[in-house]
Subunit: 158 residues, 2 copies
DNA sequence: TTATATCTTAGAGTATACTCTAAGGCAAGA
DNA sequence: TCTTGCCTTAGAGTATACTCTAAGATATAA
């Protein structure tokens, strides 16, 4: 005898609200979910794998439309293995680009933290402008260079 | 004599559309921009630094409302150095969390790529179910464990 | 002077992803 | 039987961040 989970059970376990689960279903992401005679969603243990895959794809920044496409292929079985592979391969590349960008931003935010600490110590936001050139920290020149590249349109807006 | 840039110049150089620049201005992010007598925005070379900071904060995932708050403090000068430092320090932590999560997703997407390659070779999406227990790759058990934790509600939904 | 180009504003429209409400069905316990 | 509490649906509302349109002002070149 198979065990079924209600939408509320699934919501509690997964942290996805019941509203959101219904919304995903409406959008065609949950085609694998069975229904009772009276139309109630009957989630099984096996359903947690595609649900987990959906949350992972979402966390990796994939829009719902593309996740829907993936779930359609998932329902079609063995013939779609290659296409599903390509989806993950592409997602891997997009994810890497996202990570690279966030890491670059981390560098800048980290610099800003240092800069404001210095400015606070000296009580002046423009402290470096009053220092002799050779006493100005390297990081300030580097940031200035980035701003300059941005001003000149050298920054990549792809 | 000071050189001024029009909104169009700035749009071309920074990759931010003129529409978006006006929108940011309307939202109170560009309080530092001067205007001509007839109301035309006159961007200067110095304006590119806060503009660059805005794009960095945006890329690091900060909502416009908070960027607005930061720009208000920026306009107030030296008294707000400490508060601005705190904003960057907090943003640094949020950014790290984001990077960590994306890196975790990278692990899963990478696993999925491997899995679909295997499934394609064998022409069966459920290939591992037909293998003897000791021949099933370690990564498949690991993924199964994650799905199981997700099903049991052990996954962190913070 | 007139045409073209660029600027301005307010405000409407779009996309994404929820988030909730309203109206109603169904099943189990008091 | 009736109330409670779950489920269903369609559809409206929200938040964020643009994106664009329309109407009109201003500046420059022919």
């Amino acid at each position: 005898m198979e065990k079924f989970y209600t939408i509320k059970d699934v919501a509690e376990r997964t942290g996805i609200s019941a509203y959101t689960i219904r919304y995903y279903d409406k959008e065609g992401l949950l085609t694998f979910v069975k229904r009772s005679e009276s139309g109630i969603r009957l989630f099984t243990d096996e359903d947690f794998e595609p649900l987990y895959t959906i949350t992972c794809l979402k966390k990796s920044g994939m829009p719902l439309k593309e996740i829907k496409r993936f779930m359609e292929l998932f329902m079609q079985g063995n013939e779609t293995i290659h296409e599903r592979y390509l989806i993950f391969k592409e997602q891997k590349e997009r994810l890497q680009k996202q990570i690279d960008e966030l890491q670059e931003m981390m560098g800048i935010v980290d610099y800003k933290c240092w800069y404001f600490e210095e400015a606070e110590k000296r009580g002046d936001i423009d402290f470096y402008k009053k220092l002799p050139r050779e006493e100005v920290d390297e990081r300030i020149w580097e940031f200035g260079k980035k701003v300059n590249d941005f001003r000149k349109g050298k920054t990549d807006h792809s």
